[in-house]
């Protein structure tokens, strides 16, 4: 039985069809990379799985409303007026002590009292990863987690994700345009092309 079963007949924006006849099954604990050119509908796919986009033809099972989805958006999307620790407590319903534990796990043990504006993009994104995992998600969605990071920070981020996914095995969809990083992190790579998953490599 698959942990995530996606069947999208069509997703339109106006007259343009972005996703068409997309079938994707993800096994429990499997990490699947979604690659493809910009504008091919990768983020749209994640938004559908997260239940943010309901205007499509098809089915997602389990329905987003019935499952916990941890979403690491392309931008960190932290509340700028709350401290890093408060961001975790609010979004995940955890205690400050638990938040502190998660921050230590992503290497930000001392940043909890700061507001997001005082952190670099790489650090903010690590907070976003901690937030997504701290809700103990059934499905983890990562949208370009390495975009706009310098090479060194991106490498650190990859290592961090590898470590976290080993410690908390989670069914994961990783959207990226970089085949190399996809190969390093994922069990399987799915290439989106003009809306359908045309190739799938093990």
């Amino acid at each position: 039985m698959s942990a995530l079963d996606i069947h999208i007949r069509a997703k339109r924006f106006g007259d343009a069809v972005v996703l068409r006849d997309l079938d994707l099954r993800v096994a429990d604990g499997e990490v699947v990379a979604i690659t493809g050119r910009s504008g091919v509908g990768k983020t749209t796919l994640l938004n559908i799985i997260a239940g943010l986009d309901l205007a499509f033809e098809g089915e997602v099972s389990p329905a987003p409303a019935d499952s916990r989805v941890g979403y690491v958006f392309q931008e960190p999307r932290l509340l700028p007026w709350r401290t890093v620790s408060e961001n975790l407590c609010l979004a995940c319903g955890i205690t400050p002590a638990q938040a502190q534990q998660w921050l230590a796990d992503v290497g930000l043990a001392r940043e909890g009292v700061k507001v997001p504006g005082q952190l670099s993009l790489g650090m903010q994104r690590r907070v976003a990863v901690a937030r997504a995992l701290a809700i103990r998600p059934a499905v983890l969605l990562l949208d370009e987690p390495f975009a706009s990071l310098d090479a060194e920070t991106a490498t650190e981020m990859r290592a961090l994700l590898q470590r976290l996914l080993a410690a908390h095995p989670t069914t994961t969809l990783l959207v990226t345009h970089d085949a190399a990083e996809a190969a390093e992190l994922a069990h399987r790579n799915v290439v989106l092309d003009r809306g359908d998953a045309s190739r799938s490599t093990a």
């Binding site: 239940g51 007026w81 609010l90 979004a91």
Partner: protein, 252 residues
């Protein structure tokens, strides 16, 4: 009293001193009935304060200012959020907004007094109706500027309605609410005086009317200065600290 930034304090004292000096000189050049000097005005103020009349009238006016302010802000925030977040509501109400924005304050006052009589309700209503459109415009601007990405985040992480309002929407609205509150107080206290002058038997506006009829310029200036002082206390004692608090995270 206002607390200006410390390095500007000297300029501030100079500025205040020049204003007083200008007043003294102008008063010396005219007759004391037309333009009484500062000493005479502060004398009257002290006399009115000692009798309790000054505080009673200031209190009545301040009460009207606050009541209309709370009503106008509440109504304006509700309508402004609605218009900012709902496109059909915005289209429908936009014409109304333009109408009420351009309706002269005096017309609203006259109509309120004609339709409801020279009553407290008519006075408060007239002031509120004058202010609501301005609040709506500012709040609508804020609602339109709300970040949809944070709203999506709140949905994914299952924020309750209350949590979304308190932690996601209100902090983004704070600068707009502060702007609406600030311009609100400034506009309302001026309108309240006119409403009192036209149709109430109490308040600073009524006193100004009375002393105008008696041609007592010193009393008019005494009440005007006392009122400016009260509004400055509201500004520096309440509005500024609230604004600072809402914007604290920006300077962290």
């Amino acid at each position: 009293m206002p607390r200006p930034p410390s390095k500007g304090r000297l300029v501030w004292i100079l500025s205040l001193g020049s204003l007083l000096a200008l007043w003294v000189v102008a008063a010396a050049l005219t007759d004391p009935l037309t333009l009484p000097g500062p000493v005479q005005v502060f004398d009257v103020m002290a006399r009115e304060a000692a009798s309790g009349e000054l505080f009673r009238q200031l209190g009545v006016t301040l009460y009207r200012v606050l009541l209309s302010f709370v009503l106008a802000m509440s109504l304006g925030i509700m309508i402004g959020l609605w218009m900012g977040l709902n496109r059909s509501a915005d289209r429908f109400l936009d014409l109304w907004l333009v109408f009420f924005l351009n309706l002269p304050a005096l017309v609203v006052m006259i109509l309120a007094y004609v339709w409801l009589g020279l009553t407290e309700v008519a006075a408060i209503l007239a002031v509120t109706v004058n202010k609501v459109p301005n609040v709506v415009v500012t709040v609508r601007e804020g609602a339109r500027a709300l970040d949809p990405k944070l709203a999506e985040m709140a949905r994914v992480f299952r924020f309750t309605r209350g949590q979304t309002l308190r932690h996601v929407i209100l902090p983004q609205m704070a600068p707009f609410l502060a702007a609406a509150a600030r311009s609100g107080i400034a506009l309302i206290w001026k309108i309240v005086l006119v409403v009192e002058l036209l149709g109430r038997g109490s308040g600073v506006g009524f006193k100004l009317h009375l002393h105008f009829q008696l041609f007592e310029i010193d009393a008019i200036l005494a009440y005007a200065l006392a009122f400016i002082a009260v509004m400055q206390i509201v500004e520096w004692g309440i509005l500024r600290p609230l604004e600072r608090r809402a914007n604290r995270w920006r300077h962290a």
